[in-house]
Symmetry: C2
Subunit: 367 residues, 2 copies
Amino acid sequence: MNVTIYTRTKHFRTVAFDTKKNAVLLIEQRLLPHEFKIVATRDFHETALAIKDMVVRGAGAIGATAAYGLAQGVLAFRGDDLNKFSAQVRKVYQVLKDARPTAVDPVNAMNDVCAAMQKGRTVEEKKALALAAAEEFANEDVQHCEEIGRHGAKLIRNGARVLTHCNAGWLAFVDIGTATAPMYAAQAAGKKFHVFCDETRPRSQGATLTAWELAQQGVPHHILADNAAGHLMQRGEIDLVIVGSDRVLGRTGEVTNKIGTYTKAVLAARHKIPFYVAIPLSTIDWNLKSGFDIPIEERSESEVLGAWGHLPSKKRAYVRVANPSSGARNPGFDVTPPELITGIITPAGIFKPRDLWKQRAKLGYRS
Amino acid sequence: MNVTIYTRTKHFRTVAFDTKKNAVLLIEQRLLPHEFKIVATRDFHETALAIKDMVVRGAGAIGATAAYGLAQGVLAFRGDDLNKFSAQVRKVYQVLKDARPTAVDPVNAMNDVCAAMQKGRTVEEKKALALAAAEEFANEDVQHCEEIGRHGAKLIRNGARVLTHCNAGWLAFVDIGTATAPMYAAQAAGKKFHVFCDETRPRSQGATLTAWELAQQGVPHHILADNAAGHLMQRGEIDLVIVGSDRVLGRTGEVTNKIGTYTKAVLAARHKIPFYVAIPLSTIDWNLKSGFDIPIEERSESEVLGAWGHLPSKKRAYVRVANPSSGARNPGFDVTPPELITGIITPAGIFKPRDLWKQRAKLGYRS
């Protein structure tokens, strides 16, 4: 199915569950934006594989996928022996956790499901509680994004030109997204605005996923080479920047996000353009004391040395762009210091990055 | 012939002339870095086409190509009728000028050749003078780049990590290049250093041309996504930035260069990293009074929406990367203000950008 004829409805989610078939339903994100396809995983092993192979990606989306995957695994259990059931829970939990070992969201989501199951006395009760907890996790993810949208929409005035980097849209969550939430809420309120999506090399999530999402939602937008936003800011063509984050340090206000985010924050500060970061509360890391402690993943050289895309024949292909005898450095993320950030948009409101620690009681801090 | 087995010699130039065959010899730059091939244009029409179709690109290189092309055209003239000869000169001049109508270098170069021919009394004398003038133009281009290298090499200390953007290397000139000249001179002086080449989307001249050149010269280097340098600066991994320019305003010190240059200058200023621009004197525009008067070319969307490269089969191909229903903005250049530039490296020495006007007598200004 071609995306250009696909129209998204309000009821569609990035991650969903089919109780009749005991299947997790996922948008096959690796095919976007050239092909739209929903895959149904038949068992928890397939669900784990979908996380591992990046059929689904993004913090909220993989959290919900793991929660549903755990429910899927326990629902498939046959019998009423509680000891055997517990062994099955442990096995499913481990397989799903191992699918993306450094991610924190799947673990948090599955811990919620396990905590809910404690209240059940029989296998049947525990199964029902697991499914309900997974549904609740997914619904809360949507609700938090809606709240981000409610707070953030105020920042987008009519006629605004908004820059975003990478993809922190509904494809990265169960629905709505974080950086995109204020845009969708502003759109629902009838505001007119224009979005510039940084291409976001080397993996081009802006040109592929964010642009696709905005096209589906009917939000006017243009893609930019990552080199171009500075020039547009200089010419007064950008009014606001909103990005997502992979990790915000609650103690310092530092923001980790896709490589290139720091550069855009430096440019925005020079041009006195407001720079916002939209996140759910689960993205706040209350432990780390310095941005220099955040491990920055060095990814494969091949991402920088070439590009994946579609040939005129529609066949997906990788082309080597760079000189064949040259190598590349490929840091995947960077850290933006709090002085460059106007505000952190959360479901609980908008905060100055350096006020997060002071406001930690409101922001879900558990000591 | 594969580039990885090609070894560049000191005697090789981007643009050269074969007097026996009356042919201009050009590196076919559109095939780089995947294939190295020298083409010989058989007449001035083919030379004009090579300029037009970007077989050869870069200010100095197209200047020398036009000068040689004009000599090639007049050398092909048969007879000794001076009127008919003059008509031929005008025709060749016009065809070569029309190949790249907005470029200033071909015109300046051909004017030098025409001025030299004035001194000849016969067709044979004029032909000899034309060829000598074209050779002199090319030799001066090389000499100017050597002088840039002599001044700029002092800036590269042993162990330095140097960032460059786009291609201002020997492929853009007859030899040596401008931004690369200090690197090659430092290398010749026995210094060890490392170069980071920005990929330079959307046309990727850094990943293709600059990386290829540095590999040929044996200069250790890595390619970076355009998003990555900010992070490396933050971590203290870049000591110096050197770029070229398409136009430097002599009255204000503003620098026009490939899109993304301004962004790197802003980042360098924040991190107190010296930022230099290397240019021949012909790049200085003494007329314009403001950077806002510089026309910024908006190029084809398709450059941003996809990438050219090589398939595993070695076939050259374009892949569409972006969402098929999205468009792009594609400004080709940006303007960097003088306060972000540490110095302008010229054949006449290194100058503060705001001192160019004061020093105009040294810098070839003609009122």
